[in-house]
């Protein structure tokens, strides 16, 4: 029981952090705070992915000396056919050391850089919203939109009445 809980306590803590990020993104009316919450959410999801790729006793996925000696530099002298024949057995090396899973690292590395790029697109949109509305509070912007719509409708109705008269 205790082992089961300890095995998963890391996941639970990360899920808690994720939910705080989601809560900020949901509850904040200020658009910049909302984007900060979203980026927190994204960082924590990356944390979750990378934590899933951790292997007990493993090290960073950069091959150590013992794992790169197999055949490097020898293939230049041999023929291509011999290599293709040997490839089946030679290609899969037996690793001396344990490494963590490199795949989540690759996925999250690019996701972080793309995350900052998309974050800045969102910020640019917020700057334009500030210039158009004079505020970056979502509820104020909503109220202004509704006011404008009501005024427009009243104007249209007035025009219609004038045309009929």
């Amino acid at each position: 029981m205790w082992e089961f809980i300890l095995d998963r306590a890391g996941y639970w803590a990360i899920i808690g952090l994720m939910m705080i990020g989601l809560f900020i993104a949901f509850s904040a009316e200020n658009l910049i705070k909302r984007l900060v919450g979203l980026s927190l959410f994204m960082t924590t999801i990356c944390l979750f992915y990378v934590t899933l790729g951790k292997i007990t006793g493993g090290t960073a996925p950069i091959l150590l000396k013992a794992d790169m000696t197999s055949h490097y530099g020898s293939h230049a002298a041999e023929g291509a056919e011999a290599h293709l024949a040997a490839a089946g057995s030679e290609r899969f090396a037996d690793l001396v050391h344990t490494y963590s899973n490199p795949l989540p690292h690759v996925l999250m590395l690019t996701a972080i850089v793309v995350g900052v790029a998309t974050l800045s697109v969102g910020l640019a949109l917020i700057v334009r919203i500030r210039e158009a509305y004079g505020t970056i509070e979502a509820d104020d912007i909503r109220a202004m939109d509704i006011e404008a719509a009501i005024a427009q409708e009243a104007q249209a109705e007035k025009d219609l009445n004038e045309a009929a008269a």
Binding site: E3, D7, R8, G10, Y11, L17, M18, M19, I20, L22, F23, I24, F26, S27, A28, E29, N30, I32, V36, G37, S39, L40, T43, T44, C46, V50, K54, I55, T56, G58, A60, P61, I62, L63, M68, R91, F92, A93, S100, N101, P102, L103, P104, H105, V106, L109, T110, I112, V113, G115, V116, A117, L119, S120, V121, L123, A124, I126, R130, E137
Partner: protein, 210 residues
């Protein structure tokens, strides 16, 4: 299996400390109203999570997070904050109840789902025993590059990285189209002052006797 992240007492202490700092920073961001403090704390959050990445052996990701999260995204957020507002409006107390209940429900569901997940650090879990292990085994024969992350990024998943590069380029283009390329401000600064000046237009500095 328990030793995966909780390996040894020292590592366990470091893990608990890092997670505690992350929690404190996240809760502070949720409660604060000063946007400057929020932006700075988000940089702190990125830096601490970079330390966590190093702990779970993701050195490349930790490096990226430290450079991007603590450097670039803080600078971009500060630039946008200077153009918009300094403080957030105080929130109505009951308007946060709905989001809180939703997040609580989602969190409980996700935690329920982790019961089926393999234990932290399990070498034979489906995620770790599949294609990730194969990359490690064939990497040296195929590419001869010691850093498996680089070879997977650039060689095995080259299409993916091409797409990501295009996304970064497109994002730069989109921001420039929305806000202007920045040359207008250069021209304006030059027109306003006959001699070249070194003062940034948007960053006020105290004590500069201009």
């Amino acid at each position: 299996m328990t030793d995966a992240v909780l390996g040894g007492t020292g590592t366990a202490l470091i893990n608990i400390l890092l997670l505690a700092i992350l929690f404190v920073v996240a809760i502070a961001i949720a409660r604060l109203r000063s946007l400057f403090a929020i932006v700075m704390l988000s940089g702190v959050y990125s830096l601490v999570s970079a330390a966590w990445y190093i702990l779970v052996d993701a050195v490349d990701v930790g490096f990226t997070e430290a450079a991007v999260g603590a450097g670039m995204s803080t600078a971009v957020l500060l630039g946008a904050m200077l153009l918009t507002a300094r403080t957030a409006k105080p929130e109505k107390p009951f308007s946060r109840l709905g989001p809180f209940i939703v997040c609580l429900a989602v969190g409980v569901m996700l935690i329920y789902a982790t019961i089926d997940l393999p234990a932290l650090g399990d070498p034979s879990s489906p995620a770790n025993a599949g294609v990730g292990l194969t990359f490690l085994e064939v990497n040296w024969y195929d590419t001869g590059v010691p850093n498996v992350v680089t070879s997977v990024l650039a060689s095995y998943r080259g299409f993916d990285t091409l797409g990501e590069t295009a996304v970064v380029f497109t994002a730069g283009l989109a921001v420039a189209l929305l806000l202007g390329f920045g040359e207008r401000s250069l021209a304006e600064t030059l027109r306003r002052s006959p001699q070249p000046e070194t003062r940034p237009p948007s960053v006020p500095r105290d004590g500069d006797a201009t």
